[in-house]
């Protein structure tokens, strides 16, 4: 290849790779807000045991307004309805969980329209007091990330001025407040993200797949060289 050809090749490769890096991986030009997650909280958020405690905390502190349908957690007032268990078992799908090698029913997943019909009055009441229906939090971790959630639950008005979400945890009175909030975030994370064992499986699958294709590429490349030598084409 001539020098000019080499320069052209390098140039076009660089701008193409650079362009896709900016668009797909890291865009320094786009505006993005960063919400800080303290180190201690980050440790709790990553801990699967904290997620279990967080589930209980969520049921106590948050489930009077928010549901987590993907995890079978519904509004307190709805769960108190006498016909609720029957509705879950007839209209819902069991959410299974493996504990010590045994499959257990963790809760029931209810389709959105069924849930909203059953909970109609409760949701209307919430709307009357807050101005809007507090959202279901099944996928909120994926949408907002741990930093935002932690900061937002600690002090909603600071992160989103004018929000109708009240402040529920006060570090001034309760020393445990930051840990509790981190545990709730850990719970929301456990709902949205695959479990650690599943993640490990996906990692192995990913490495095996990528490795397989790289290897196959080389095998084809060297096989081609041999075939071309036999045929007398260089």
């Amino acid at each position: 290849m001539s020098a000019a050809g080499l320069i052209k090749t390098v140039f076009f490769t660089l701008i193409t790779v650079g362009f896709f890096f900016i668009i797909w991986v890291y865009n320094p030009f786009a505006h993005k807000e960063v919400y800080e997650l303290p180190e201690e909280a980050a440790r709790i958020v990553g801990d699967p045991k904290a997620a279990l405690e967080g589930r209980e905390l969520f049921k106590q502190s948050c489930s009077s307004c928010h549901s987590v349908r993907y995890d079978g957690v519904y509004l307190m007032s709805v769960e108190a309805k006498p016909e609720w268990q029957k509705i879950l078992k007839t209209m819902g799908k069991p959410i299974l969980e493996t504990q010590d090698g045994k499959v257990k029913i963790k809760g029931y997943y209810l389709p959105r329209d069924v849930y909203e019909a059953v909970a109609l009055q409760d949701l209307e009441n919430l709307k009357a007091s807050f101005g809007k229906v507090p959202p279901d939090l099944s996928t909120i971790y994926l949408a907002r990330g741990p930093g935002y959630l932690y900061q937002f639950i600690m002090d909603p008005q600071k992160v989103l001025p004018g929000t109708s979400m009240p402040k529920l945890f006060f570090p001034e009175y309760d020393k445990e407040a930051p840990q509790k909030v981190a545990k709730i975030v850990a719970y929301l994370r456990s709902v949205s993200e695959p479990s650690p064992s599943e993640k490990a499986k996906r990692l192995v699958m990913g490495v095996a797949t990528v490795g397989y294709f790289i290897l196959m590429g080389f095998i084809l490349w060297f096989y081609r060289k041999r075939v071309l030598e036999k045929m007398g084409i260089s």
């Binding site: 329209d113 990692l203 699958m205 797949t209 990528v210 294709f213 084809l220 075939v227």
Partner: protein, 407 residues
């Protein structure tokens, strides 16, 4: 036994003859460069999209009460490997468009749209356009905030015709009709979701399949282009030709494997761009997210539309770019081919590539007055590229004749 069955079938179906004719006796230029692989890569990605798409249709529900949950609960959590197929489909859509863009720029660089390959280019353009519509319709299906508001913005773009300097009434009515026709009403609801779903899973893929088949047939009929920009004489210079199999198949096969390795790296380890965070919030017609922008493959056009102060002229400008792209073979009538032999064209090609990239990146930024000015500047450069083609061709005809009709 197996061999006898194969021979029995071959005797009747003549598969062997077909293989020999189409793979071994089919000769291609030896000097094909790396960018010629993008066509095959696009075909592979298309196959991946169809396979992963078929699996996703089995569990997806095109009703607004269930669309979001069927994607994020049923597919992502309930079904074994549902996540994998959604990741493949989402990353595949982005890779498909990326490869198609690279394929198009390669075609422009080597002037692969010139006689006798004008139809290859035109059919390719129709594939590109259909692909954009497929991407747009598929984008609505997860029914997240981005899907919803992205589609609202897109379906409202034709309504900017109402901003016309003359005949406001007529243009306005046309724009609104198109807009309502796309949405199936004034609001995006079940009706829109249903028709987007139908288009995305049956109609558009079928059209794409047909168009890809025609595209491939035309490539074979006209012969593959050459980076050096001249047609190889099959009788007088056979040393410049090689059999398609195994020379090209194995080379492109190896590159395709590495391409798949890169693709699956993204599928398994880096999905945050292809499944953007904002789209994990269910669509809420009462809450507009702060930053709405179309996906990256439309951002260039979006930036053209956005940076021009008049909505009407913005609309006209980006449609004109699409149209000029279609008319490329006729704008560039020079007897010379391939940017390798055309210095003037090479410079304008650089201008075109860099402005397209700049427009796309500007589209990701917030719409400040400076960015709008930059957007207009690069839009002007894109038009300059298209308008310079006839001038360059004219000059090159002069050179061609001065050299006594030799390229």
């Amino acid at each position: 036994m197996l061999r006898r069955i194969a021979a029995w079938i071959d005797e009747r179906a003549k598969v062997g003859d077909l293989y020999r004719e189409q793979m071994i006796e089919y000769k291609v230029p030896k000097n094909l460069t790396f960018p010629y692989v993008f066509g095959v890569l696009a075909l592979i990605t298309f196959a991946l999209q169809i396979v992963s798409g078929i699996i996703l249709i089995m569990y997806y529900k095109p009703v607004i009460a269930h669309a979001f949950d069927s994607t994020n609960y049923t597919i992502m959590r309930e079904i074994d490997f549902g996540w994998l197929f959604r990741h493949i489909h989402a990353a595949g859509a982005n890779f498909f468009l990326a490869i198609v863009y690279l394929h198009m720029f390669t075609g422009i660089y080597y002037n692969a749209y010139k006689k006798p390959r004008e139809l290859v280019w035109i059919v390719g353009w129709v594939i590109y356009f259909t692909l954009l519509v497929t991407a747009l319709t598929g984008y609505l299906l997860p029914w997240g905030q981005l899907s919803y508001w992205g589609t609202v913005v897109t379906t409202e773009i034709p309504a900017s015709l109402a901003d016309a300097p003359v005949l406001k009434g007529i243009f306005g009515a046309i724009g609104e009709t198109i807009s309502i026709w796309m949405k199936g009403g004034y609001k995006l609801e079940d009706l829109a979701l249903g028709r987007f779903f139908g288009l995305h899973v049956v109609f558009l893929p079928l059209i794409l399949l047909g168009l890809v088949a025609i595209h491939l047939f035309l490539v074979r009929a006209a012969g593959i282009s050459n980076p050096e920009g001249y047609e190889i004489d099959k009788k007088n210079e056979p040393e410049k030709l090689v059999p398609f199999h195994p020379y090209v198949t194995l080379k492109e096969g190896a590159i395709a494997m590495w391409y798949l390795a890169l693709f699956f790296f993204f599928v398994f380890f880096y999905m945050s761009h292809f499944l953007p965070a904002d789209n994990f919030e269910p669509a809420d017609p009462l809450k507009t997210p702060p930053h709405i922008a179309p996906e990256w493959y439309l951002l260039g056009f979006y930036e053209v539309f956005r940076s021009i102060p008049s909505k009407f002229w913005g609309f006209v400008a980006f449609n004109l770019i699409l149209l000029l792209l279609l008319l490329l073979p006729f704008l560039d009538f020079s007897p010379l081919r391939s940017a390798r032999r055309r210095p003037l064209f090479f410079v304008m090609f650089l201008v075109f590539v860099i402005s397209s990239m700049a427009l796309t990146i500007l589209g990701t930024m917030s719409p400040t007055p400076t960015n709008a000015k930059l957007g207009m500047f690069f839009t002007a450069l894109v038009f300059l590229f298209f308008l310079s083609l006839p001038v360059i061709s004219f000059v090159e005809w002069g050179w061609y004749k001065a050299r006594g009709g030799q390229a």
